[in-house]
């Protein structure tokens, strides 16, 4: 239970800088998700907080205390790894107890904590098993258990669900969220899956090539992206980008409009016309893919009950001016 502050945090490997200065104040008990495409520096950022990577510049404070020089064990954090990193030769019980044993905690207390975590994670039947005798989801829980028993101030997760199948992922996502709420522990969670990010986060950090493009609550980031990258990355299907010139706005700038904000209109009406390429009826909704003048691709997301235009048809596209997002040539929101 602690606050975490990152202050112009930078990381370089040799001469190449991979994190270009990240600032954030995380309050006690907050769930922060770091999201971004592969290679943008999410793991590096998390590992710096964990103390597994050195800090090149800037400062990390946990509960107001500078921890840059501290070993991971002295930072009062616990980490869950992507491949779980369970000790293969130890039983589930020993895996969870290992950190406490090193901390020279009395046996009775260790047992009590392990039992408590096992109950919370429904691991009681498996305590004597080795990790390889467990399913992926159970291993994941053991990794969580190992983090919980330490009662850390901060949980760090590096893509903990990426090795699970889709269904289990949804279930574990809920469990992680509930657990974090119940324990009230500050959490930093890395993922490249925007659904995970949207559902878990109190606030999310959208990373792009070592820069935190935007930090904010998921719905706020979705509704009000600060950069072209964020608008394109968050949301599925992604935001449509149209060269503003086509619509009579200044050249070089772009207009972003979310698929659900575009509607099909009769030809000649609406802001522009498009050629229907193909439609994907998904039941509840239909995705219609079009091209418009200048070759830009546009996707329209409409209710499943609305009539679907046929392929090759020319249609008008309309949207409200309020829903438009304008970006300058460098991708900044205007």
């Amino acid at each position: 239970m602690a606050t975490v502050s990152l202050e112009s945090l930078k990381k370089s490997y040799g001469k190449t800088e991979v994190i270009h200065g990240v600032d954030i104040e995380i309050s006690d008990g907050e769930f922060i998700v770091i999201v971004g495409p592969s290679g943008c520096g999410k793991s590096t950022l998390l590992r710096m907080v964990a103390g597994l990577e050195g800090v090149s510049e800037g400062e990390i404070r946990i509960d107001g205390q500078r921890v840059n020089e501290k070993e991971p064990m002295d930072r009062d954090i616990a980490m869950v790894f992507q491949n779980y990193a369970l000790y293969p030769h130890m039983s589930v019980e020993q895996n969870m107890a290992y950190g406490l044993k090193i901390a020279k905690m009395p046996k009775a207390e260790i047992n009590a904590r392990v039992a408590e975590a096992a109950e919370l994670l429904q691991l009681e039947p498996y305590l004597k098993r080795r990790p390889r005798q467990l399913s992926g989801g159970q291993r994941q829980r053991v990794a969580m258990g190992r983090a919980i028993v330490r009662r850390p101030s901060v949980f760090l997760f590096d893509e903990p669900l990426s090795n699970l199948d889709a269904k289990l992922r949804v279930q574990m996502r809920l469990e992680i969220k509930n657990l974090q709420r119940e324990l009230g522990v500050t959490a930093l969670y890395v993922t490249h899956d925007q659904v995970e990010a949207m559902t878990l986060a109190d606030r999310m950090i959208v990373m792009n090539e070592g820069v935190a493009d935007q930090i904010g609550a998921p719905l706020e980031v979705y509704a009000n992206p600060q950069t072209e990258f964020v608008a394109g990355f968050i949301g599925s299907p992604p935001t449509n980008f149209i060269e503003a010139e086509i619509l009579g706005a200044p050249a070089g700038t772009k207009i972003g409009i979310r698929p659900e904000h575009v509607a099909i209109a009769p030809v000649g009406q609406g802001r522009t016309t498009g050629l229907v390429l193909y439609a994907e009826p998904l039941g509840a909704e239909t995705l219609i893919h079009l091209t418009i003048a200048g070759g830009n691709a546009v996707t329209v997301r409409q209710d499943g009950a609305v009539a679907i235009p046929s392929e090759g048809e020319q249609v008008g596209l309309s949207w409200r001016e309020d829903d438009e997002m304008r970006f300058d040539a460098s991708g900044r929101r205007l």
């Binding site: 064990m73 491949n83 030769h89």
Partner: protein, 286 residues
Amino acid sequence: MAHDAHTGMVERRGAGLWLTHLGLIIGVAFIFFPIWLAFVASTVTQPEIVRPPMPLWPGDQFYENYSKALTSGINAPVARMLLNSAIMAFGISLGKIAISLLSAFAIVYFRFPGRHVFFWLIFLTLMLPVEVRIVPTYEVAANFGMLNSYSGLIFPLIASATATFLFRQFFMTVPDELAEAARVDGARPMRFFVDILLPMSRTNIAALFVILFIYGWNQYLWPLLITTDPSMNTIVMGIKQMFPSGDDTADWPVIMATSILAMIPPVVVVIGMQKLFIRGLVDSEK
């Protein structure tokens, strides 16, 4: 015909099965026959061996020959030589395993200046077996006063790279995340080594122990050089020294008894460790 060979191996039935076994039995008998002859020779009297035809069945001198070999031998009692060999073989295998585990740990997990240089230096010794560096090694051992001593038998043979190399390869397959998890759990490097790395390497250690024990047990040239006192002789070189020089008659029953005795410890180690091997294989972690 029922084809239920689900193991991917060809399953033979009827005559085929018996023929296969017959082939195997002949093979085993062929390999085993000289050992059997040695055993027979160790249980009869000297005149019985020299007089043709050679006996094919054990005689009644088992106890006499073996107790003579064990207690007095020819130059030194065999019991003494067995002990020397055992100390040497254990010393070499345990020493090598300990040193190579530690050096592999250092090379894989620590970034220190000259890491690569050290690795290549160790690697270089792979190309220099005992026989190649025997003269300088003898010189060094002699200067340190290690002639006719266990340390002289053991230490010069401990330094070698094979095992270091093997453990290095194994450690590199251990995921980095495991070391990081241990670090987050608060394990200092040596703690990680003892609690995580060692138990994970135990099948490798067992395999290496068997190989190194036999390597140590079978050393011939080095003990021959470094020991002159019969009470420091090892069994393998001891057998050779039992052969008579000149016109003396060889005491073949005792020599054969010694040979049989010399074979037992390696066999015991192989069979004993085999269980650990197989348990390690079935139990395979990772």
